[in-house]
Symmetry: none
Subunit: 212 residues, 4 copies
């Protein structure tokens, strides 16, 4: 009956409150980091946005940079776990689903991703730990896919390396305006349509076939 007993899994009420507060700070911070960049965001801004005293921040994070790292790490975990479910899209529908999923992950974390890219643009450490290590996995997956497509004669004989790069480039470029905040995120419906168009374009090209 006591509060000690009420937490059955070792996460006491206090600990949960700490986690909630951390999350609130991280959300507010992601917002600011995304909007004006890490360097240009002050701890005063963070405190104000999270509605706490400036020094209270340091009860939850050891430094301003730790807030950034916590944000990015959390996001990284989410992305990793999302991709850990096997990706085996051999057909057109599978590809569309994959494209849709990637966009879903990015778009439901717009702020986090925007902050990530902003800092990765100037920090090699962030770039390698949180971007390249992730994109390498996707790139590797795409290369395998293309190689399989080519050897099964379904695809024209293109360089898998180059092909993978172009596919990724297309997605990255397509998502940038949303991440930057120029465009509002597409509805699930429009997202699906975009995925279909991209996949169709990649597979079929833009030219009319069989100009019989």
């Amino acid at each position: 009956m006591s509060s000690e007993l009420s937490g059955s899994e070792g996460t006491s009420r206090r600990e949960r409150r700490v986690q909630r507060q951390r999350k609130e700070i991280m959300d507010a911070a992601a917002h600011l980091f995304a909007e004006r960049g890490y360097s240009a965001t002050t701890t005063k801004d963070l405190a104000l946005a999270a509605d706490i005293g400036e020094s209270t921040l340091y009860g939850y994070f050891a430094s301003k940079r730790e807030v950034l790292v916590a944000i990015l790490s959390e996001k990284a975990e989410q992305v990793d776990s999302a991709f850990s479910e096997g990706l085996n899209p051999a057909d057109r529908n599978g590809l569309i689903h994959l494209a849709d999923k990637i966009m879903d992950i990015v778009l439901t974390n717009v702020l986090y991703t925007r902050a990530l890219i902003g800092e990765a643009w100037v920090s090699d450490e962030i770039l390698h730990n949180y971007v390249i290590s992730r994109t390498n996995r996707i790139s590797s997956y795409l290369r395998d896919l293309i190689t399989a497509g080519v050897s099964s004669k379904m695809f024209r004989p293109i360089d898998p390396r180059l092909g993978a790069r172009i596919v990724m480039a297309t997605f990255v470029g397509a998502l940038l305006p949303v991440l930057r905040g120029i465009e509002s995120p597409p509805s699930p419906k429009r997202r699906r349509a975009l995925a279909e168009t991209v996949v169709s374009l990649l597979l079929d090209g833009v030219l009319v076939r069989n100009p019989a």
Copy 2:
């Protein structure tokens, strides 16, 4: 006798010297802004890199931000003049040439572009004045191209808006790693090959045709 008289066309020797100094400062600044971002670059850094006193800076620019604006404006002019020569690539070779040219412009100004993107990522003012106003023109051109292609039955009936976006996305995404400094710029030869592959992929898609 005086320097006033020696320059008959308004660009006196003194003025030319000022312009040369401004340019040197801008080059050094572009380097630093690109590498570590505008916010994280100090005026001391700028002065050191340009080999002048910290206060001398203010003889040439009204503020640190003015240096950034000057850099971006100069770049914008270059890009605009590059695109002002009519772009009329109706055929495959014209498209390849266009792709090559865009990449050329970006890649011969890596530092400037990197600095531009870095700051446009956080500043709406920079974004609209120096990025969107530029991309809109390219986008508009691509839409026209696609519309023409579709109505002439050369292209499959795709949404010109979406098509233009995807084409641009592909280029942007492909150039990002070079801008960020992960990859070294491609040689003219490899650049041409890349342009050909991209255009080929866009036009023909990846699937084998005539699975007759």
Copy 3:
């Protein structure tokens, strides 16, 4: 039944517990104050060393400075009571015993004394209340001793004021390295030997006598 009633003499069980806790805090604090100084010791350090919550401290002391004052007052009491037993060393053995005793008091309270000196070095209040008021008594005792020695023709006619000062200086200087932690405290045996040497040197000087 209540704790109020259980303690018939004013020192209830609770009060004893409070005193014990205060003592524990003071011991931990003396350690820290001695090692790094009062200013450089944080209340967090104190709480950690005393194994209590940071705010619990304020249940036992009104402020950080109160902890210091409590430490010094306790030490002052000990010293006073140690000296209150009459000091009447008229002969060489008595002097040696006195020297030994002073060193004993200081050395069994190294931490306290080190903290005291450290703070007295910068705080006039501490200096006068806890150092000078104590040293004056010893000084006065020594002056009497010397005066007696001189008038009984046992000592050469030296200024008692100056003599007392030099004797105290010798002891203070000799103990500093131990207080500062450069040297480990001497064993009782070595302490006695030191006392003998000092007294011998003071009484007899270093020159060979009667080289007759």
Copy 4:
């Protein structure tokens, strides 16, 4: 005639001004460090005392600690150079002169020395670099002196180590009240008298000789 030429030794007018300003800051700082200790002195205090802006400080010193180090290093140099002139006091007058000299050095640098001791009391680094390295040299010198005195049968057979320690202790203890600011520095005359008494006491002891 130009300012370039006026500085004949490479120390330009500017450089001299910088050195003067540094010195002024160091003097003000020594005062404050001596009075309230290094930890308890803020950069604001320093700036106020030196009558400059708080940030101006950093044009002359890299950090608050650098100010301390500069003060102590300068003092160390003075002491070293003072002792570098050979110390060869074989007779009573030589000893008195030595004692007088040591006191002179310390007393003409009361503030510096007080700051030094205050910080050496809590910082091992300061203690070893600026105190022990200095005292070791004096101690070594005194041991040699005593050894010589003993082997020439002028001194009674005492342990040179212990003897040196006691001599130093006497001086240190005697100077402490002045350093701490309890007593004003003695006049040269009184200083000489003190030196004579100390040496006399050390050599002859306090007891009357030839109690025939």
